[in-house]
Amino acid sequence: MSDKIIQEDELEDFQLSADEAIDNLFVEDGIFDDESKEDTPVEKTGGFWDHDTDSPEKEDQAANKSKGLPFVGDMSLNDRLARLQEYILSLDWEVTTTNIFKLMNEFKIIKKLTSDDRNINTIIVMAIGILDYIKDVKTSAKPVALQFIHQASESLVTLGKDDKLSPKDIKTLMVKIISSYTKLPLDVKKYSKIIIKKKAKQATVSQQTVQSPSAEIPVAESRGEGLAVKLLMEKIERIEVDFKKIEQEQGNTLKGMQENMDAISERLKILEENTPEKISYESQPEINSTDETISMAELSEPLSRPYHLTQYPCLLLTMKNLQLNLILLLIFFKYLTKK
């Protein structure tokens, strides 16, 4: 997998496609007349002001009516969808209550406009649900949520096209968006995990840049308590899995070490005190992200330390246990030879 968002060999094609898109998109609206250009109201006081200067309802009225499409407030479905995309773009830039409500309201108008279309209504119900989540958490909303709103809008545009889609296409589209919706909570959870992991990595890398690479750094100290606990719990889970694997391979030789979560936790604490570098976050398994871009971002970060055995604390525990067993065996042999 490459760590570049644009590949070198596709640069020229990318630039040509961009040029073409710019030529097609950045054109003056056909319904724009000279008269309306002159009377652009400009807010003249301080603070944030929206230039809601356009009035598509009036401008598009004649053109829309000729299409024979459903109307609400003299606007056709296509115009409403165009406005919806405009509001999404605004929400993209700034997550504010006003932007959320504008978008929510637009979704509701489209729902009313297409009350007989079950597919469109399903998408809108899902989108409003996600908007509710964004409204509650505002700027903390995970990008996957806004991605879903984009997907919902694109799907609505596809469904709202004048030329009707085939039932098969509609089914594919609906399956895709419903599956995105159902896996959204999981994606949000996964994204949160990745964020925590990236922050922990950054903290580790920044520490290593100011200290000698060979220095033994108690990484856990640098993190917040909550994060440390979380990392520890993840480690415990990982070790538990490893122990089970080893146990399956080697029988019950490690059974004594695998009593319960608390006991392992205690052992880890002791291990952490003695050899702090061994629980550094680099020993965490990679989160298998289906989001390619996140993985690419992680790949672009420099490797913080070379691979070595201490990356696997469970093996160290095993080795310690073996050492102990050897010592016991030696004592036992000495005891036998004395006899």
């Binding site: 990318f14 710019i22 030529d23 003056e28 230039h51 995309q85 773009l89």
Partner: protein, 203 residues
Amino acid sequence: MAFIDLARKEINCKVVFYGPGRGGKTTNLIYLHKALKSNAKGKMVSIDTKGDRTLFFDFLPLAIGKIRGLDIKIQLYTVPGQVMYNATRKLVLKGVDGIVFVADSLSVQKEKNIESLENLIENIQEENMDIKNIPLVLQYNKRDMDGGKIPLLSIEEMDQDLNSTLKVPSLPASALKGTGVFDTLKTISKLTIRYVSQKVVGQ
């Protein structure tokens, strides 16, 4: 450098409209906001405006759409042209990917144009960038006043004053009437996307 959101496969490019005070930077944005198709634009925001002067900046987000799976967005900013607001101009210039220098064609503004361009070069240098590397388009605004009572600078004269060393694309325009505004936007958008995509590949 453009803001690249890997999670959302999105590239946000920043284009700043720079130039002397009352040169027509905000008028450019207002025209674009009114004339662009609604699926390509977001809401226009003016931050702290007094009278016809921009005290902080105007902002207009534009969406080019998906290019090979990447969502490309361009954010247009203006700066306050008045000399005293240099700190704000520096702030708005941070992370710029493309610049439109809106020069005033009025003869009386000749010195102001040169002064503003010098200020731009200086501020760009402070950002550790080279004006010769960054996409730049010169727009000679207010050409609609040609032939009127107020004397205008000729295109050749403006080229001599502002573009003799830079040798960047220059376009005559009238932001009030819309002439040349879209050509300016297209030129700077194409140059900016080339610049940003090459930087992304070179990383």
